[in-house]
């Protein structure tokens, strides 16, 4: 099995061992070699700059989906196909064309072991954000917890008006 540098940078040693990949020195080199300047994404509706890390947007998120630059959107894959895409395909895509990432409806991407799937994807995406130093946004209509997110934005309605709340700072933005 051949793994490329960007994949080795994202995969942990534990995961590499599960794949019987033994050349850990190559993986260490990959983790040290890939260095990028920050690539942030602006949330245009509230003029908010999202940092290069894992961000969760929960609730009526579609109201907020207007980004600059346009993110690379994770295709509508489910279960093991999603996990494989994130671990093996996405690092190669970003290596050749680095961009912020958008993944919609994470909690609907698993047909079994949903909580465990969400937890694992959260960790993978946080690693991708770190390796490629870019913003990764996960959107979900459900209120979910992403263990590795650094910022959570809740979108909902107050008196008929759509508002976005930055959970960590309690800042409120009206969208209309």
């Amino acid at each position: 099995m051949r793994l490329k540098f960007p994949q080795l940078a994202v995969l942990t040693y534990d995961e590499l061992k599960l794949m019987d990949f033994r050349d850990l020195s190559k993986a260490t080199l990959a983790k040290r070699k890939l260095k990028y300047s920050p690539l942030c994404m602006r949330l245009n509706r509230i003029d908010y700059l999202l940092p290069p890390s894992l961000i969760l947007i929960s609730g009526e998120y579609e109201e907020l989906l207007d980004f600059t630059p346009t993110p690379h959107e994770v295709p509508s894959l489910v279960d093991s196909k999603l996990v494989k895409y994130l671990l093996f395909d996405l690092p190669l895509i970003l290596y050749h064309d680095r961009a912020p990432i958008l993944l919609r409806d994470l909690s609907e991407r698993f047909t079994r072991d949903i909580d465990k799937g969400v937890a694992y994807v959260s960790n993978i995406l946080a690693r991708i954000a770190k390796v490629f130093n870019t913003t990764v946004v996960v959107c979900d209509k459900e209120i979910i917890e992403l263990h590795d997110s650094t910022l959570t934005i809740l979108v909902g309605k107050i008196n008929g008006k759509t508002v976005a709340q930055i959970a960590e700072t309690n800042e409120i933005f009206y969208l209309n």
Binding site: L18, L24, T28, S80, D113, Y120, N123
Partner: protein, 114 residues
């Protein structure tokens, strides 16, 4: 006792789980001695490729925590020797999976890629 002091001094300054010989010391004689002790007490696994990659075992990780807790104890801070889940996991590791993912069923996807 002398070996324990050498290991204690090294574990105290170690800030990662995976490291190279150079991270031990730029003095190759000293780094070989420390590596020998780490292996003797089962604190590390050594992988030799184009360079040495040294990985703390769970026993090594425990020893490192004990060393750090000892310093906190001397400084008069409350310490617990129980494993703690670090904060909310803000700083994701590229080296290890967090404990809560170790038996995650979705890891089986990796075995399909062998």
């Amino acid at each position: 006792m002398e070996e324990a002091v050498t290991l204690f001094r090294f574990l105290l300054k170690l800030d990662k789980r995976v490291f190279s010989m150079r991270d031990i010391s730029t003095n190759s004689k000293y780094s070989k001695r420390v590596l020998g002790l780490l292996e003797k007490y089962g604190l590390v696994d050594v992988h030799k490729g184009s360079m040495y990659v040294i990985v703390l075992t769970s026993r090594g990780e425990k020893a490192r925590k004990i060393a750090q807790h000892f310093v906190s104890f001397l400084e008069g801070k409350e310490v617990s020797l129980e494993d703690t889940r670090a904060g909310k996991g803000r700083e994701v590791s590229l080296e290890d999976l967090p404990d809560y993912l170790k038996n995650n069923p979705w890891l089986s996807v990796l075995k399909e890629r062998k």
